[in-house]
């Protein structure tokens, strides 16, 4: 058992501006490293095959479905999770989510917010069609889509 453990590669990850170490198999998806090993539980499991968006994080600023990307693919890349999006939950997207009162059950919303934040980082003034294209990968089973759309527009306005 010990030899197996020792044979595991050790990964140093840059998450939310801090270095973390993880003793995991190379094929462990980033999602489960974050949740099971780093105690960052804001990133959610929904499908495991990159189809629902609940696990969305940023890798070097781009939205990434973390459930089917192995930790070994991260390298020195910078990971941002919902916990690190802002210091006081005051990122324009988070503020808009609160203002528009988007969440119902809330389970998908961290992923929605991360997808929206990545969109606005590269395109601060998206058209409605661009917003819809960007948000299409994220499922919301409660059906909060209208408010998601409204909140992304509001966040875009907040960013000036």
């Amino acid at each position: 058992m010990e030899t197996i453990k020792n044979s595991m590669p050790k990964y140093t990850l840059q998450v939310n501006g801090k270095p973390y170490e993880a003793d995991v198999d190379a094929d462990t998806p980033i999602l489960w490293v974050l949740r099971d090993h780093l105690g960052l539980l804001g990133t959610k499991y929904g499908c495991g095959i990159g189809q629902c968006g609940a696990c969305t994080i940023h890798l070097n600023g781009n939205a990434l479905r973390s459930c089917n990307v192995p930790v070994s693919a991260v390298g020195a890349g910078k990971i941002t999770t919902i916990e690190g999006l802002s210091a006081n939950a005051d990122h324009p997207v988070q503020a808009a989510w609160q203002e528009v009162d988007v969440p119902q059950c809330g389970y998908c919303q961290a992923g929605q917010i991360m997808t929206a934040a990545a969109l606005l980082a590269r395109n601060p003034k998206p058209t409605v069609a661009q917003i819809e294209d960007a948000m299409q990968p994220n499922l919301c089973r409660c059906g909060t889509y209208h408010r998601i759309r409204e909140a992304v527009v509001l966040a875009s306005n907040k960013m000036k």
């Binding site: 099971d36 095959i49 629902c52 988070q94 609160q98 809330g106 998908c108 919303q109 889509y145």
Partner: protein, 722 residues
Amino acid sequence: MIMSSITNTSRRNFLKMSATISGGLFLGFNVSDADAAGLSILDPAEVLEGDIVFNSYLSITPDGIITISSPNPEVGQNIKTSFPMIVAEELDADWATVRIVQAPLDNKRFERQLTGGSGAIPHSWERLRKAGATARHLLVEAAAKRWGVPTSSLTTEKSKVFHKETGRSLTYAELATEASAIPVPAEVRLKDKSSFSLIGTAVRNIDNPDIISGKPIFGLDFYREGMLIAMIQRPVSFGMKIKSVDSAAAKAMPGIVDVVQFKNNVAVVGKSTWQVLKARKMVKIEYEPDGAIESSADHDRIFKELLDKGEATQRRKDGDVEAAFKNAARIVRSEYQCPFLPHNPMEPMNFFAHVRPDGVELVGPTQTPDLARNEAAKLLGISPEKITLNLTRLGGGFGRRLKADYVVEAVEVSNILKAPVKVIWTREDDMGGGSYRPAVRYRFEASLDAQGNLTGYRLRGVGINAGNCTREDNFPSGAVDNLLIESVEHKSPITIGPWRAPITNFLAFAEQSFLDEVAEAAKQDPVAFRLKLLDRAKTSPVGAIKYDIDRMKGVIKLAAEKSGWGTKKNLSQGFSVYFSHRSYVAQVAEVENRKGKPVIQKIHAAVDCGIVINKSGAEQQVRGGIVDGMGHAMFSNLTFKQGAAEQLNFNAYRLIRLKEVPEIDVHFVDNGIDPTGLGEPALPPTGAAIANAIYKATGKRLRNQPFVLQEELKGVKLGDRL
């Protein structure tokens, strides 16, 4: 403030709930052991230093923290905001400063700690009002005593009592200790509804700050030192059982603690989720038949046989339906069918259990904590009092978490391993795992006389494990002289469960689509046709009528008015109205015919749920219900081959996404009637409103779901909107 005296209709409950007050300061109030033990990441209803408990819902600390407990599971229906709003309204509490906590399961404090049937608000409306009003009464009495003035000279606002004449005020916190020593009145005055200042406003989901910052508030987020992760391999095919298990390879995988078999399940238990997921694939299980092995093609055949066979269970019979059809000038006959659907809450099933010699700790997301605890107790052969159950937030439910199977699994595995265990289901487990909206087929027949009057109505429903798949007292029952409603059930190894708006989630589509077909045969406008039937039910009712005719007419008229029914030039409108779970909802869908392709542009909804408690939550609940009804009617399909579900994840199973959602306008009837629930009632009417509009736009009548797979829409990419 205007006050009205009300009679205490449930006095015994009220006194029971208030019994703790007589002892004055907090006296070992029944707070569960789990609270005292402290949960690693949850922030449940912990006791505050010096908390003065006014009743099951409410406590105030002398330093000013007003805590309102919300007992029912929060699944996204926003009960954790709307319940406390009702207490705070009657208390005149400062909403901005109240602290709201999710109560653990506690039968001594609460009744019906359940999320299902859209029933929480109607059940608790008066209880919650009384909880707030009683505490307010005691606080006012305490102020009157302290100042030596009559209570009638005092007013309350924002957690303070005011004596306007002298300009004095005291906070509730300053009065709490004295108030708690005053005897609880036998009767309490509730506010006049017209003076509500919090109820009816738009209040944001109180958990938004936790949700948008990624706080670990869901069941899947619950971690405990030493906790093991378990995943369970259940039979892939319904109707199979385990023949043999070879778990040697899985057991040898890193991080795996054990592989254990119980009943027809094999649990792989380990230290981390990914290690368990990998090891699970190494378990070799052989199965053998244990019952019928069915495919969807079998169900299609079985439906046809059951629709034609002689015997059925009669659900309602008015007049002589045979004679009506014999004398008919015209007969309309149609059949409607739906597939199985999994619930697919975004948070898959999971639960934490720790079975110890001295008791059992359960933590997680369940819509029915009481049932979960009772089933756990039954499995272990212990008293339910030995079990504590703390509720996390639920990442959706839709009825799936009304079954306690996954809770019992966690208890079973923890009991075998004598360790704290969290059972996690994958999405594939969820979709293949045996809790479905049942597949159903309906046959409708209507007879019309020469003047186009509906003289006879016959409905037979056949369903897989669906029990009574009709709702025999639904409209148009009561408005038709000759009517026969019956059902037949096929028993199958494929297990079902209550799926949001059970039965009516599809029955409403079938009934309201068929009524459109009948209205067309009678050469009448669909809205006028329905109103005429309702007038008939009012003036000459046939048999029992279990819906409020005037309220149904009210939403029909409001939806027609708000949508400009019959006045739109370039849009085809479809109508639907439904009464379910005590609320009334009418909808108008608008479809544009763009070069032969129907594009759904807008849905107007008119809702009568009585008093709207939270404008923001209620509006979103209606929209969400419509999106849900629309998505599943259009896209979602679960089929079986050789007893196994053929769609196991979102790559093969389609859920509605943002782009496919049209504009939705929500209008509420303002009538001051005591509130009813909204978790379900907006969903049932949607499918028919859309199908009726598509029919008008294209001449194609959709009778089966999901729409995208129907021959009628071949070549049409449904869901395009812009």
